[in-house]
Amino acid sequence: MIDAMKSKILKNLTPYLFILPGFAFLLFWIVFPMIKAFQISLFEWNVMPNSSSIFLGIQNYVRAAKDSLFWLAVKNSFFYALATVIGQLFLGLLVAIILDRIAHGKIFFRTLYYLPVVTSWVVCSLLFKFIFNSSPAGLVNYVLVKSLHLLPKPVTWLNEPGTAFIALYALGIWKGIGWTMVIFLAAIQAIPEDLHQAALVDGANEWQYARKITIPLLIPTIVLTSIMLTIGAFQTYIPIALITRGNPIHRTEVILSYMYEQAFSNRDFGYGSALSYILILIVFTISQIQMKFKKEENQLY
């Protein structure tokens, strides 16, 4: 009897043992730092080990609400998300629909578009920094001024927030097209071929088929992808840190770069942690709004 019980307990326990390593990692690397960060956000945190910190309560959060530079960073993050998410969705979808229909070189183009996705953010950021260099020899300047004669003189791209964001948006979109393309391609291939045949029989052309059949069927995928992309966009940091460093005068700062600046450059870890919690709140709210768009009727076919 006891043996039977033992083996039953062991049997029940087995799945938990299997998830234990992963769960332990999650606890240690995600949950613990999150709780710790919340604790830090309530203090004027002293980074020295074994030193005392001053308890501030919600003062760091109040300070954030009044910090105009922080709200500028939020605004920048918001527009970055808007521009890059729409850009990636639109271009990714376009590429996916076209790739789905071409007869030759599908794998070649798929690989080509996916290449930026697997390239390091650091490499891509430095690349874009060179491409958008303000000097006449910068690639974009060279093409616009010397080759195409579209502009009378070189643009100092990264010295103005407006033009600097053009470079940042371009990088964000270019780097993400491959990923959205792969997701959409998979979703498109899940749409039964009969629908295509039926539509053709009914006299629809490819464009009408894409517009009336493919895209509506992809709505759940589009919503899900847009949520993932939005979360990613709000967490952008590397391109800002490497291309503009928030310059000029913090005008190209996004939430994470501003948070990093506060925590690590100004050694204000309490304030930095408070900002990270505000970021979580913002991302959570936006994802919830996006989820509302997701229709329940997933199974159309």
Partner: protein
């Protein structure tokens, strides 16, 4: 699925056990080494057991300085101290402060670091640094041995928190060929600059008279001081009346005038051709920079002629900024004795001499007066400029003050605020930090 996973789990356990076993073996081995080593060690050895000390610095990873450190100096030290191993880590300057903070908060600070002199008060104020004057029995000897100015940058709240390692200041670097083509010579006074710029532009329309890569204090202070202005009072209690005083405002208005007339390259706003490359490619006619300009320009443009002259004088004289690095010992270091041995080594004549060969201006009084320095092609002029150079404000919040100054400079050059307006605001912000 579960059945398939069990053997993997088993293998993982075996691996874990193996790792433990290896760890145990390694410990045993080092203990054995220790005993055999201690038989050989001379009695003079300060450290009885083999230790590894960590030394972080900002010598560029691919630079003559780092090569000298890695291939000549550290091996030399290790040969003299068989029980001490030195692990050197080059870190990029911009990331260094951050890296130090994170490692300090994690309790894994290095034993020693070569830091920008201006970070010393901040790290000392945090309690991260050991006070060298208390730790080092022979500290008093160094008081006379070292150059007083650089030594003073280690002083904070009644103690010395480090020792100077190298010192520097900036000079006016100019491209003689470009200057000759315009018929101008190195400016002795700031009053000549606008005319010189026009002459230069008349002869070479695409050339910028001067280039510098930003508006931070390191860049703007020579102008402020040479115009007779300052950032705060001597006691560092207020910036109002200094940073927004008439002379400082005049200095910024002068820079703006130069910028508006196209005399300063756009790289001052953040991006463009980097200063050394522009100098080498005959796009920038003059730079305000330190002795490292020689090795950097020489390595990229071996045939380039490099000319120097003192920083142009203004109403307040010809005053540049004292730069340089201090070597500091961290409170968290568990090998303070061994670390201090290395500290003594970096201040030895040998180390200082070797580093002087690769562009580091020494801090030992006996070396500064040596023939090598006196007859050196450019150190003499740097030392001359150092006589009038001033130090940046020693304050734990210097980095934030610096940022306020940088932003004020950007606002002025971008024509968004008048010099007076921007500096009034900056002074008020710095006053807030000094409270």
């Amino acid at each position: 699925m579960k059945k398939k996973l069990t053997p993997i789990f088993g293998i993982a356990i075996v691996f874990a056990l193996l790792l433990c076993a290896c760890g145990g073996m390694a410990v045993g081995k080092s203990a054995a080494d220790e005993s055999s080593d201690s038989d050989i060690v001379e009695p003079a050895e300060v450290v009885a057991e083999p230790v590894t000390i960590t030394f972080w610095h900002t010598y560029n990873e691919i630079s003559p300085e780092n090569e000298m450190l890695m291939n000549t100096l550290i091996p030399l030290f290790e040969a003299e101290h068989p029980n001490i191993k030195v692990e050197s880590l080059p870190v990029a300057y911009e990331d260094f402060r951050t890296k130090l903070f994170t490692s300090i908060s994690g309790g894994v600070a290095p034993d020693l670091a070569r830091i920008d002199i201006i970070w010393t008060p901040e790290l000392a104020d945090m309690g991260a640094l050991a006070s060298i004057d208390e730790e080092m029995s022979d500290f008093a000897d160094y008081m006379d041995l070292l150059f007083a100015g650089p030594l003073a940058t280690n002083f904070w709240n009644g103690h010395y928190y480090g020792l100077p390692l190298d010192t520097n200041t900036k000079l006016w670097f100019y491209n003689k060929a470009l200057y000759d083509s315009a018929g101008i010579t190195a400016p002795a006074s700031v009053d000549e600059m606008l005319d010189q710029c026009q002459m230069l532009k008349a002869a070479n329309p695409d050339v910028y008279y001067f280039a510098t890569d930003g508006t931070w204090a390191w860049v703007v202070l020579p102008w402020i001081w040479s115009f007779g202005g300052d950032i705060t009072d001597v006691e560092v209690t207020t910036a109002t009346g200094y940073l927004n005083g008439a002379q400082t405002v005049a200095a910024f208005e002068f820079l703006k005038e130069l910028y508006d007339q196209g005399c300063i390259a756009p790289v001052i706003m953040g991006s463009g051709i980097d200063t050394f490359a522009g100098y080498g490619q005959d796009v920038y006619a003059s730079l305000d920079n330190g002795p490292w300009t020689f090795p950097i320009v020489e390595s990229q443009f071996p045939d380039k002629e490099i000319s120097i002259s003192p920083f142009p004088a203004g109403a307040g004289g010809s005053i540049n900024v004292v730069g340089g690095e201090n070597i500091v010992l961290f409170q968290q270091s568990e090998n303070k004795e061994a670390a201090m041995e290395f500290l003594r080594f970096v201040l030895s004549k040998k180390y200082q001499e070797k580093m002087a060969e690769v562009g580091q201006l020494p801090v030992r009084v006996d070396l500064i007066e040596s023939d090598f320095i006196k007859n050196h092609e450019y150190y003499g002029m740097f030392l001359e400029q150092l006589k009038t150079s001033k130090s940046r404000t020693a304050h734990p919040k210097w980095s934030q003050m610096d940022e306020i100054i940088t932003n004020a400079g950007q606002l002025i050059l971008r024509n968004e605020k008048s010099a007076q307006e921007a500096l009034d605001e900056a002074a008020a912000q710095i006053d807030e930090l000094l409270k």
